[in-house]
């Protein structure tokens, strides 16, 4: 046995802990032959004696009778409301469990309703071919699905059902939907093409955006304008393609 091994067990040796006889004998032999280790063992034993003396000196110490009296008083008071305390804990537990179950059921129902509901066919309609003097070729491209006048505007030419965005900031389509939903009794013209329109632009989807324009803008699309009210503004839905450009417009009243 070397000093390092001796140091690891000198505490147990001094405390007279149970250990193998062979190991104990080796340790004692080493302690007898090494001055430093012998001193360490002597110090440990001396410390052991000191600690034991301290423990013995404090063995009779106890808390004062005041503590017991206060505890008993508290115990007597506590017994009265203890069952109510336990009951309230149980009540909270059951309320929490019921709330959790309701939350799960509600979530499952909501998810199933969302998954099971097919895309609203009634919300889609074939837009009448736009009879515009500017672009007769738009009949084909506007044969795609476009939101009707009396339903909230939605993205079009997208076979998937619309996704609900988790973002709190309202998107443009959301704003348009809100605007349209608040004006279900509006009367709208057909869509008029704006700028260069091709079928490719509309296949990627788009959005309807509610804007206000000067009434004089009606004349640009061949619609009659009352010059007395030319300065007033008129509402319009602008069809914006995925690339951000306005592709068509309809006027709303």
């Amino acid at each position: 046995m070397n000093c390092e091994e001796f140091q690891t067990m000198v505490g147990d040796l001094a405390r007279e802990q149970i250990m193998e006889v062979r190991v104990r004998t080796k340790a004692l032999v080493h302690g007898a032959s090494c001055v430093d280790c012998a001193q360490t063992l002597a110090e440990e034993r001396s410390l052991r004696v000191g600690l034991r003396s301290l423990a013995d000196g404090m063995k009779s110490l106890e808390a004062g009778p005041r503590v017991e009296a206060q505890l008993l008083a508290a115990y007597r008071n506590r017994i009265d409301f203890k069952p109510a305390l336990v009951h309230s804990h149980r009540w909270l537990y059951w309320v929490g469990a019921a709330a959790a179950v309701l939350l799960v059921v509600f979530g499952v129902v909501a998810m199933r309703g969302r998954v099971a509901s097919p895309p609203r066919q009634e919300a889609r309609e074939i837009v009448k071919p736009v009879e515009s003097p500017q672009s007769p070729l738009l009949k084909d491209q506007f044969a795609s699905v476009v939101a009707p006048r009396d339903t909230p505007p939605r993205t079009f030419s997208n076979p998937k059902p619309p996704r609900v965005k988790s973002s709190k900031a309202p998107s443009r389509s959301t704003v348009a939907a809100i605007a349209a939903a608040s004006n279900n009794n509006e009367i709208a013209t057909d869509f008029f093409p704006v700028g260069d329109v091709s079928a490719l632009n509309l296949q990627d989807g788009g959005q309807l955006v509610r804007v206000e324009l000067p009434r004089s803008a009606l004349a640009r699309f061949g619609l009659p304008v009352n010059m007395d009210r030319a300065n007033q503004r008129v509402k319009a839905d602008v069809l914006v393609s995925a690339d951000g450009l306005a592709r068509a417009i309809r006027f709303v009243q």
């Binding site: 430093d36 001193q39 423990a55 106890e62 508290a74």
Partner: protein, 210 residues
């Protein structure tokens, strides 16, 4: 029905939680000593030790249902609660400095009496033993808390390493290593006093490499 004195701690606890005041009294009288001494040895303050003892049994009255006999003895549970309260109080009171630093008054205040339990060979022997014990007490109190608690539990309360590990919520190996370190620190702190008293000439020793 058996007398409360002869019943186990677990049984007494159940009776106490069921409203048996006598069970509380028996349990308190059986276990308050070790809790009080542990708090006193950790803090050196009888007032704090009494407060902690009271708080520990209040916790037992309130949350005694949480005690699981499979995880350890009730004594370990109580010492664990006491340890938490002592450490909290020491942390809270560390900014306060005791006004009276006189060792005799301090020892008297702690309720410690070195003379009674020992055989006395004479007045000088009493004095030296008292001084020695007092120096050990001070050395223990000056240890860092993590070492002090294992020294108090294993050397002063004389509980097993496993039980101490249960009280402290750590591994047995951790208890052993902390105890080893704590004892080394104690020897270091007590060495100057002993060297001063020593009349034996210092012998220069060489490290053994055997």
């Amino acid at each position: 029905m058996a007398k409360p004195d002869s019943q186990t701690d677990d049984k007494l606890l159940k009776l106490m939680l069921a409203g048996d005041e006598e069970a509380l009294t028996t349990l308190y009288r059986r276990r308050q000593g070790s809790v009080y001494r542990f708090a006193l040895q950790m803090s050196g303050s009888p007032a704090l030790a009494e407060d902690v003892t009271q708080e520990v049994f209040m916790v037992l009255m309130r949350d005694g249902g949480n005690f699981d006999p499979a995880r350890g003895s009730l004594n370990s549970f109580l010492l664990g609660v006491a340890r938490n309260h002592v450490l909290r109080r020491l942390e809270r009171d560390r900014f306060y400095v005791p006004m009276d630093d006189d060792s005799e008054n301090e020892a008297a205040a702690s309720g410690f009496s070195a003379t009674s339990p020992f055989k006395s060979d004479g007045p000088l022997d009493d004095v030296s033993r008292t001084e020695m014990i007092e120096s050990v007490r001070k050395a223990v109190l000056s240890l860092p808390a993590r070492y002090r608690e294992v020294v108090v539990l294993c050397d002063l309360q004389e509980i097993s390493y496993a039980e101490a590990a249960g009280v402290l919520g750590c591994a047995v190996g951790t208890v052993r290593s902390r105890l080893h370190r704590g004892r080394a620190l104690l020897i270091e702190k007590l060495r100057p006093a002993r060297e001063e008293d020593s009349t034996v000439a210092d012998v220069k020793s060489e490290r053994c490499f055997a």
